[in-house]
Amino acid sequence: MRVKVQYLGPVRVMLDKREEEVEVSLKTTVYELLRKLSNTYGEGFEREVFEDDGGSIRDGLIITVNGRAIGQLDGVRTSLKLGDVVTLLPLFAGGG
């Protein structure tokens, strides 16, 4: 099935793309999607998205599914459906 992935911030700059459609299996989790993208885009992407342990999402990066932060869903185990929109958003402290 296809899901849409949107990129903001450093990941957008790194990949030079704002969004894309990604083909994944039914009931793919957010973690599995991000792993697939890491395998596609390599170490730079992996470093932006995952902590050094490779299992948890980097502090300061928000992942949403259809606008809802995954922390309010099932975390990285959140299961995706056809047409879901997954967005990677960096959150900065301060800034004035």
Partner: protein, 615 residues
């Protein structure tokens, strides 16, 4: 003492005389530096209830525990404190650059300035020499011209200058103190306090070494800290910088737009951090002892604002971009440049202009009032010109210069409903209607509407709590955030390095720098002490539970569209949030620290402020 100078400089601008006081290790241990030093010095040196423009309102500078040392991202910051002319409560603002380290090197940790000079003056601190200098030739100059002139007059290009612009001279309530070109003690109108004293600037040159207790051990630790400060925990600040928050907050329906009329902005892409870096950023600069270097300097190379140059962060981008409905960054950069030169806080002034735009569109002010400007949302040229009018108190700028609270009281006709302030201080860049933990942080923030005393939007936006619901548990979260940030703002550590620190590490650095034994738990207790002392100060100056509130628009008008559509913070929500916070804090239902809390924190001396205790 090590690192600490142990010295407080007291200046009487009326007579031009100064004297030095001292503080001991007990004071240092209890209050650390920065925030703690500033709040403690203010509450002990200011007569209760005075007017912020009274000459006896002390204008206080305080450096951090690690100022002037090799500790990365902790060497240069300083705080400025006084009774605020915006809120009539605690005025507090922090800046960085190079000024803070210079003051420590000159031999002072705290400067307390009272009185009023008979003529425009600047204070010249040259190591032990302290002089009140004539500033008649500086009055009316921009902040940048003031710095350049002082350096030329005194023959030393390494003098650091904290200066007001014309706005501070004219007692504009959003006036700031600017140093090192692009850095400001911006919020709560402290530039106006300086102006009320006829104080144009504080110039400082310091040539003493700052000796730390254990230099070899500290050096080894700092080598590791330097690498971590340059690592993945801070990379996004070096890369796109904080303006990247524009698209993040827009996507989450959390971007204050058109004076809080909505929470998403259709023009967000062209005022985003991504767009800024691609089209306008020319270099990245840093502060003293900073390996991160986060200052994104943007320049406009063509068009009506050609030549404008400013350091651009998220908050001013929000304030002059979406908040004013403006979707062009050249106008945003020009507006920030004017704020720097004329000496007004970019955040507050953007919010004031946005308020002015709504007043204009509702025909509460006219084109005659604006001096011919069509002050409509989206009009970048008018926005830029209005910044100047506010700073110079021209046309309706004279009313707007009072800040949105007082301006709306004067304009009336329902404008109070959309005057976006808390305790008289203008809101900042997080749409509180859909971020209820953050809304609590803002409602109780000791210096008025503010994100920097707590950072509690992290819980909401990070999905760690349900941001659309209010519950009593948020109180403990906000309390924890506030006390942690008190530590950061006392050491003073750059919040961009938050990811590399834990409290035991901060305590270890503190001990290596000062030689004073400290644990993480003791530091947290000191943070709690500062939060409570600040509350006591505000209670003394008249704050009650009623003041811990949110603007009417946030409490009555739901977000109209986007992922946060329908959300707002009603009175029931606010009461739940406040009750939970006061309980977590050990305060009464009116928000007054209870006696047992004062005893626990060694603040019994202020028990008279707490007064007769209610349950």
């Amino acid at each position: 003492m090590n690192a600490y100078t142990g010295k407080i400089l007291y200046v009487d601008l009326t007579s031009g005389r100064s004297k030095t006081g001292i503080f001991n290790e007990d004071f240092a241990r209890a209050y650390i530096g920065g925030t703690g030093f500033g709040i403690k010095t203010l509450i002990d040196n200011q007569e209760p209830g005075i007017d912020p423009f009274d000459p006896q309102n002390p204008l206080i500078y305080a450096v951090g525990a690690a100022s002037g040392t090799m500790v990365p991202c902790a060497s240069s910051k300083f705080g400025v404190f006084a009774k605020s002319p915006a809120s009539n409560l605690l005025g507090e603002a922090y800046s960085t650059g190079q000024w803070g380290a210079e003051l420590r090197q000159a031999g002072y940790d705290i400067v307390v300035i009272k009185g009023k000079s008979p003529k425009p003056a600047y204070l010249w601190i040259d190591d032990e020499s302290v002089q009140r200098m004539d500033a008649s030739h500086l009055w009316g100059k921009t902040t940048w011209d003031t710095e350049e002139t002082i350096r030329n007059d005194l023959g030393d290009q390494l003098i650091r200058v904290s200066a007001i612009g014309p706005a501070g001279e004219k007692l504009v309530r959003t006036a700031c103190l600017l140093n090192d070109h692009f850095r400001a003690a911006g919020r709560t109108g402290l530039g106006a306090v300086a102006g009320s004293k006829n104080l144009k600037a504080v110039a400082v040159r310091g040539t003493h070494d700052v000796k730390v207790a254990q230099p070899e051990e500290l050096r080894e630790l700092c080598k590791d800290l330097y690498e971590r400060c340059k690592g993945p925990a801070t990379s996004k600040y070096r890369g796109l910088g904080t303006p990247a928050n524009v698209l993040t907050l827009n996507a989450q329906g959390a971007l204050p737009t058109r004076n809080y009329q909505s929470a998403t902005f259709e023009g967000a892409e062209t005022v985003s951090g991504e767009y800024l870096n691609e089209h306008f950023v020319t270099k990245i600069e840093g502060c003293t002892a900073c390996p991160c270097r986060c200052e994104h300097i943007a320049e406009v190379r063509e068009g009506p604002f050609k030549g404008a140059i400013a350091r651009v962060e998220y908050e001013p981008t929000m304030a002059f971009g979406p908040y004013c409905g403006v979707d062009r960054l050249d106008a945003v950069i020009k507006a920030i440049e004017y704020c720097n030169l004329y000496g007004v806080d970019a955040i507050s002034t953007g919010i004031v202009v946005g308020f002015g735009m709504e007043c204009y569109e509702r025909e509460l002010i006219t084109k005659e009032d604006t001096g011919g400007l069509e002050l409509e949302f989206g009009n970048g040229e008018a926005m830029v010109e209005m910044v100047k009018k506010i700073a110079l108190r021209k046309d309706v700028g004279d009313v707007l210069a009072e800040g949105v609270k007082r301006a709306s009281e004067k304009i009336g006709r329902g404008s109070e409903h959309f005057a976006m302030h808390i305790k008289g201080v203008e809101v900042t860049g997080y749409e509180l209607r859909g971020l209820k933990t953050c809304a609590l942080g803002y409602a109780v923030s000791r210096r008025g509407a503010d994100h920097q005393r707590h950072g509690s939007y992290g819980w909401d936006l990070g999905g760690k709590v349900d941001r659309f619901k209010a519950d009593k548990g948020r109180g403990k979260l906000v309390m924890g955030d506030e006390d942690v940030y008190c530590i950061f703002d006392s050491m003073i550590l750059c919040k961009f390095t938050r990811g590399i620190w834990d409290f035991d590490l901060i305590a270890k650095v503190y001990s290596l720098v000062t030689g004073i034994p400290m644990t993480g738990a003791e530091l947290l207790k000191a943070g709690e002490r500062m939060s409570n002392l600040a509350r006591l100060y505000n209670v003394r100056e008249g704050l009650t539970r009623k003041g811990d509130t949110l603007p009417p628009r946030i409490m009555k008008d739901p977000i109209p569209s986007g992922v946060a559509k329908g959300s707002y913070v009603n009175q029931e929500d606010l009461d739940i949030l406040l009750d939970g916070y006061y309980e977590a804090r050990g305060w009464t239902k009116e928000g007054v620290p209870k006696k047992e809390k004062l005893k626990e924190l060694g603040l019994e001396a202020y028990a008279n402020i707490a007064g007769k205790e209610e349950s």
